[in-house]
């Protein structure tokens, strides 16, 4: 809660810092702001608080989610390099302020106790993302992506609101625990049946949320938007937005609607399978590294939804571990992609294809090594964090007694092997393909972040219990 207030104020002060005409001060200031918010976040550790008439609830689970969100924001801000030196075309004060505000939205989405809060948080996050997607005003692709994201996202929000209204009609409550009671009461009154309002409401809420985490069949916007947005904001979108979205989906499904599992579980089975198959198979055919990462983020939404679907007591910690492993690896991949694509720019346009990585290892061993570790982690190769992320998710699915999960597991494991194929493409390009990438000068902070994320990925792969015990 304190983190929300602090981040809102810091966002505003960031805008004022923009008046100083000194863009070098913004990056360290934003990093300090995020660290302070992270510290304030831990004040809620080991307490269970309800804030402002049950609008928010903080407990250890929410503190953990907020930590992952703020950590991802920190890493993304750290690799932003003050958005270049172009005073005319980039506005770092605004970008950093909007990033801080969107972190507020993400925090609201993981701590909400009332559907109104979920809606406001989701909108803050989405509106920030619409703006940041279109922030590269001179690029036609960025403009197209922003418009596409805005139109589709507004419709998804409308559908979510419609669902919220219907659920309110069925249970006469916006409170997520109140909804659970309303559902139980409806079951009593109607002798085992639930009102049709509830049915439609739950499905529509689910559609709205699944759109935001880009699960199939609501994923069509993802490749274009991720591809068109500036890489740094794509990194933010595919980590923070996804973590917050999955956390919100899990929160509402597991707290409000556990007694109507069949209602949301059955469609979710098909959604999970479709997400895994479409995300992974389509990723194979991509020529662009950035677009491949977009499809990879779709497929990871599928893996995360498996454990939401499995509904085990361990689901909390599996979700947290997977989100953490995925966020760290994705940010590393984007960090490498950003510097390499700019160094390989053709006609002033960043080259984001796999060919841009050819021969990266010759002159830039650190970049190539970080890229390798992050790709191995995303693919789920042992001794990386991603392996244990997948391991925990799969074991949740395995320990669910329903035989349906065996089939989901078969699909998930098959699709992981498909994943290995396309995650190795950049590694092969970097180490084996002939090509020339000039030595890329990295700032000390950039180097530090690359080493930090790579070390974390390996560390979590060797000793997952380090954080698993906390979660």
């Amino acid at each position: 809660m304190n983190a929300i207030i602090a981040l809102s104020l810091f966002g505003i002060s960031n805008l004022f810092l923009g008046f100083l005409n000194n863009r070098k001060i913004l990056l360290p200031a934003t990093l300090v702001f995020i660290l302070i918010a992270l510290g304030l976040n831990f004040a809620d550790w080991n307490h269970e608080y309800y804030w402002f008439n049950n609008m928010l609830k903080t407990n250890n689970l929410s503190v953990n989610f907020v930590t992952i969100i703020l950590l991802s924001t920190f890493l993304v801000v750290a690799i932003s390099r003050s958005f270049g030196d172009d005073d005319e075309h980039s506005h770092p004060a605004e970008y950093y302020a909007i990033l801080l505000f969107s972190a507020v939205g993400a925090i609201m989405m993981v701590t909400f106790e009332n559907l109104i809060m979920l809606f406001v948080g989701l909108e803050i996050l989405s509106v920030s993302m619409y703006v940041l997607t279109g922030s590269d005003k001179r690029s036609l692709r960025s403009n197209e992506a922003a418009l596409k994201y805005f139109l589709m996202g507004s419709f998804a929000t409308g559908i979510l609101l419609f669902g919220v209204a219907l659920v309110y009609g069925a249970t006469s409550s916006f409170d997520i625990h109140g909804i659970a009671q309303g559902v139980a009461k409806a079951k009593e009154q109607m002798g085992g049946a639930y009102g049709p309002l509830l049915y439609s409401g739950v499905i529509l809420i689910m559609v709205g949320l699944l759109f935001k985490i880009s699960a199939a069949p609501f994923h069509f916007w993802t490749p274009d938007v991720y591809d068109g947005a500036p890489s740094i904001f794509t990194a933010f979108m595919s980590t923070v937005v996804k973590t917050a979205g999955v956390a919100a989906t899990y929160r509402i499904l597991s707290i409000s609607f556990p007694s109507v599992y069949g209602l949301w579980g059955n469609p979710l089975v098909y959604i999970v399978c479709a997400t895994l198959i479409i995300g992974n198979i389509t990723a194979v055919y991509q020529q662009s590294f950035k677009r491949m990462l977009a499809y990879s983020s779709i497929s990871h939404a599928g893996y995360l939804l498996i454990t939401v679907l499995a509904k085990r007591p361990e689901t909390n910690s599996s979700l947290l571990f997977y989100s953490l492993a995925y966020a760290i690896a994705t940010i590393t991949a984007f960090a490498v992609l950003m510097v390499v694509s700019e160094a390989q720019a053709k006609n002033g346009k960043a080259d984001e294809s796999f060919e841009a990585l050819n021969g990266l290892a010759n002159n830039n061993p650190l970049l190539a090594f970080s890229l390798t570790i992050s790709m191995l982690s995303l693919a789920g190769i042992p001794l990386t964090a991603g392996f244990f992320g997948k391991f925990f998710v799969f074991s949740d699915a395995f320990s669910n007694p329903s035989s349906l999960f065996k089939w989901i597991l078969v699909i998930a494991i098959l699709m992981s092997t498909v994943g290995i194929y396309y995650y190795f493409k950049p590694i092969i390009a970097a180490y084996m393909k002939k090509g020339e990438v000039a030595k890329i000068e990295l700032s000390p902070l950039y180097k530090f972040i690359l080493i930090l994320t790579t070390t974390l990925t390996i560390l979590l792969g060797l000793a997952p219990d380090l954080v698993k015990n906390i979660f």
Binding site: M55, H91, E94, F101, M117, V120, I124, S128, V131, P196
Partner: protein, 166 residues
């Protein structure tokens, strides 16, 4: 009750005219009319304040803005349809299915314990109580949403030197 049927029919008619009319100015005018009809529904639901706000904000401010934008854009030349027949057909089937499902579901709705109407519900006093007491946190945090939208609009709308690609 009869008035409700009349108003609902009018709302649905004008709402469908928004998407059916070829001329965008007509669309906007129908949309204004739809907002008035919805305000009528608010009155029937005893929410007078919402009715006033809806007319002032939506029918008044936002729609006038809409009209300005449409007048400034040159819409006289008809752009060719970009969507193929198959896409349109698929969209129509999907949207129609959702409509059928929602109608089928709401036909069976039986609201047993609806609270009896309280004449004070929709008054400013009751609304203020709820807004500033129960929902004070979302009310405050919405300001961040507007702030982001404002910062974003200024950032995206600011004129820059140099050429654009469009």
């Amino acid at each position: 009750m009869n008035f409700w049927y009349f108003l609902t029919a009018l709302t649905l008619l004008s709402a469908s005219m928004v998407i059916l009319s070829k001329n965008p100015i007509h669309s906007v005018l129908y949309l204004v009319f739809t907002f008035f009809c919805i305000s009528g529904h608010y009155v029937l639901l005893n929410a007078q304040f919402l009715m006033a706000v809806n007319i002032v904000v939506y029918a008044g401010a936002i729609m006038v803005l809409f009209l300005f934008v449409i007048m400034m854009m040159d819409l006289s030349k008809n752009s060719p349809d970009s969507k193929s027949t198959l896409t349109k057909l698929a969209g129509a089937i999907l949207g129609g299915t959702l409509l059928v499902i929602l109608i089928a579901a709401s036909r069976k709705v039986d609201l047993k314990d609806v609270k009896p109407i309280d004449a004070q519900t929709g008054m400013v006093e009751g609304l203020g109580q709820i807004l500033y007491r129960d929902y004070v946190l979302p009310f405050e945090l919405v300001s961040i949403l507007f702030f982001v939208a404002m910062v974003g609009a200024v950032m995206l709308g600011k004129r820059e030197a140099g050429e654009r690609n469009f």
